[in-house]
């Protein structure tokens, strides 16, 4: 008992320390670092959100960019008429409503329909909004009034903290258990009394909620938004890569993956713009082939093997 409490105290203490350090970043660090870490926070949010739903259920959503983009566009439309916290909330709401629609349509059917529908959703929204702007407004794109780098940073940090708390709560609750059971054996879960479709739709909306919030907060980063910028297929791909590479079981798996790949992207994007997407694609294939449990699983296996060899000597 004592060991468990001291472990918990350590974990909480460490988390608070990291939070304090993070909060201090805009105060002490140069602008470039603040922007970089904001990007890392953004990818962490999307990767973890994606994992909330697609991790336990195995229903692979390829629509992250659609929800993120919906958040961006909500912020772009609202402009500076509304204070930032409300913009973020509305962006979250719009995205989760979109997810309710998508989920309601597809999640009562076999998983393959879900994958197919979400795959095209980003391009669809792009085309639709582009057509709408050209036909109805005569122009494409909107100008977004900028907010300070520190403001965006703190907004993203807050969203991430709320997200991690939410994930933690869901996992420990009966709904987290139900979600896992759906992934293990959906039919058995249904026969044990779980309202499988409702659960899937609700959790999917929750994951979209945070992606939309992140999008709304980040919108001010780009001063000019058009559908091509807001709905970028890479945002559907990279977080999935991060989650799978990092490991989808523990919460910190996607977080580690996000940190690694954001930094990698930062490093490569200026020097080799098309090469880096190519490299990411290759890493994805390699990760699927050789790293079923991600980096976390890999390190665990290596650690086990090392401690086994240590014991063999005694």
């Amino acid at each position: 008992m004592e060991k468990k409490t001291s472990k918990r105290v350590f974990a909480i203490g460490l988390t608070l320390l990291i939070l304090a350090l993070a909060a201090a970043v805009p105060v002490y660090a140069p602008v470039y670092t603040v922007i970089l870490i904001t990007s890392i926070l953004m990818y962490m949010i999307i990767a973890v959100s994606w994992t909330i739903f697609s991790g336990p259920t195995g229903y692979i959503s390829l629509a992250s960019a659609a929800f993120f983009g919906a958040g961006i566009y909500t912020a772009a439309i609202l402009g500076s008429a509304v204070p930032l916290p409300l913009v973020i909330l509305l962006g979250a709401l719009v995205s989760s409503c979109l997810a309710l629609l998508v989920g309601g349509l597809t999640l009562r059917l076999k998983g393959i329909y879900f994958v197919m529908f979400t795959f095209g959703l980003v391009e669809l929204l792009l085309h639709f909004i582009l057509w709408w702007e050209v036909t109805m407004c005569g122009t494409t794109g909107r100008v977004v009034p900028p907010a300070g780098n520190a403001t965006v940073f703190y907004a993203m940090l807050t969203i991430l903290v709320v997200l991690i708390l939410t994930v933690f709560l869901i996992r420990r609750s009966r709904y987290g258990m139900a979600l896992q059971s759906v992934g293990e054996n959906e039919e058995a879960a249904a026969h044990a009394g779980v309202h499988v479709t409702a659960l899937k739709v609700v959790i999917y909306s929750v994951s979209a909620l945070f992606m939309g919030a992140a999008g709304a907060a980040m919108a001010t980063r780009w001063t000019y938004i058009d559908p091509r910028i807001a709905f970028n297929p890479l945002i559907s791909f990279v977080p999935v890569l991060m989650a799978i590479f990092g490991g989808i079981r523990p919460i910190y798996g996607p977080i580690i993956g996000a940190a690694i790949f954001t930094y990698l992207e930062e490093f490569l994007i200026t020097r080799f713009p098309y090469y880096y997407m190519l490299i990411f694609g290759i890493i994805m294939v390699v990760a699927i082939l050789y790293m079923p449990d991600g980096l976390v699983g890999l390190t665990r296996r290596v650690w086990k093997r090392m401690s086994r060899s240590r014991h063999a000597h005694t």
């Binding site: 139900a178 039919e187 026969h191 044990a192 009394g193 309202h195």
Partner: protein, 243 residues
């Protein structure tokens, strides 16, 4: 009034009638056996009752209410639970969580964590798996996995329990233990319908038996009546019965 009843239940797969115009009544508290050669439609009938699939025609009533068109989770919460022919446990989850799921979700209304834990604990105890509560379900033996499925079903507090080939793949000792478990469930007042190929189990445990062949009901009655039924003998042993 029978607790579970079906009239004219029919289901096709492609052009083939898997279940063809079957009428059945299950009285409260009885143990009804469902037998027939492979492909007779027994599991399909279970699937139709538990709403895993939908009938082409006919209707099914449970406790006087029509349940055709309901979803599996609704039927479970009404008090009808089942196990599966191919064991469907949640392999990567602990044994206790497997049963907790049924305790939390298998009943109408809100179930408190304490209440759920108590129900799950009782169910595990009843099937004799308390000592495995922390193990992962996939690490259990087949016999124990089948018991786990029963525990999960019992945690939903069912009035009717459908058991699908619970004894398949078990050795003689395990079969005896399983038969004892069915008797204990019966003693609790739960109505049992069981699909089985192990004849000695069916004959000794069931009060009544229903026989399906090519999707149709061909006989019904007490074990003695069914065993003496000419059509049943023909179906199982072919024309050689006379030779």
């Amino acid at each position: 009034m029978p607790i579970l009843e079906g009239k004219g239940v029919t289901r096709y797969f492609g052009g083939l009638a898997a279940v063809s115009n079957v009428d059945f009544q299950v009285e409260q508290g009885e143990v009804l056996g469902l037998i027939g050669p492979n492909g007779a439609g027994k599991t399909t009938l279970f699937n139709l009752i538990s709403a895993a699939i939908v009938p082409r025609s006919g209707n099914i009533t449970f406790k006087g209410k029509g349940i055709t068109g309901l979803k599996p989770y609704q039927i479970c919460r009404m008090g009808l639970a089942r196990t599966f022919q191919t064991v469907k446990v949640f392999g990567n989850m602990p044994v206790l969580d497997n049963v907790l799921l049924g305790a939390f979700f298998g009943r109408e209304g809100y179930v408190s964590p304490a209440d759920a834990r108590a129900t799950a604990g009782d169910a595990l105890d009843f099937v004799g798996l308390t000592h495995t509560a922390g193990a992962l379900a996939k690490d259990l033996t087949l016999a124990n996995q089948k018991r786990l499925e029963v525990a999960r079903a019992l945690a939903t507090r069912p009035e009717v329990l459908l058991l699908d080939e619970m004894m398949e793949g078990l050795n003689a000792t395990e079969v005896n233990r399983a038969m004892e478990l069915v008797r204990m469930i019966h003693e609790k007042g739960i109505t049992v319908v069981m699909i089985e190929h192990v004849m000695k189990a069916i004959m000794s445990v069931c009060g009544r038996i229903m026989v399906l062949h090519h999707g149709a009901k061909i006989a019904e009655g007490t074990p003695q009546e069914v065993a003496a039924n000419k059509t049943v003998i023909e179906v199982y042993f072919g024309e050689r019965a006379d030779a």
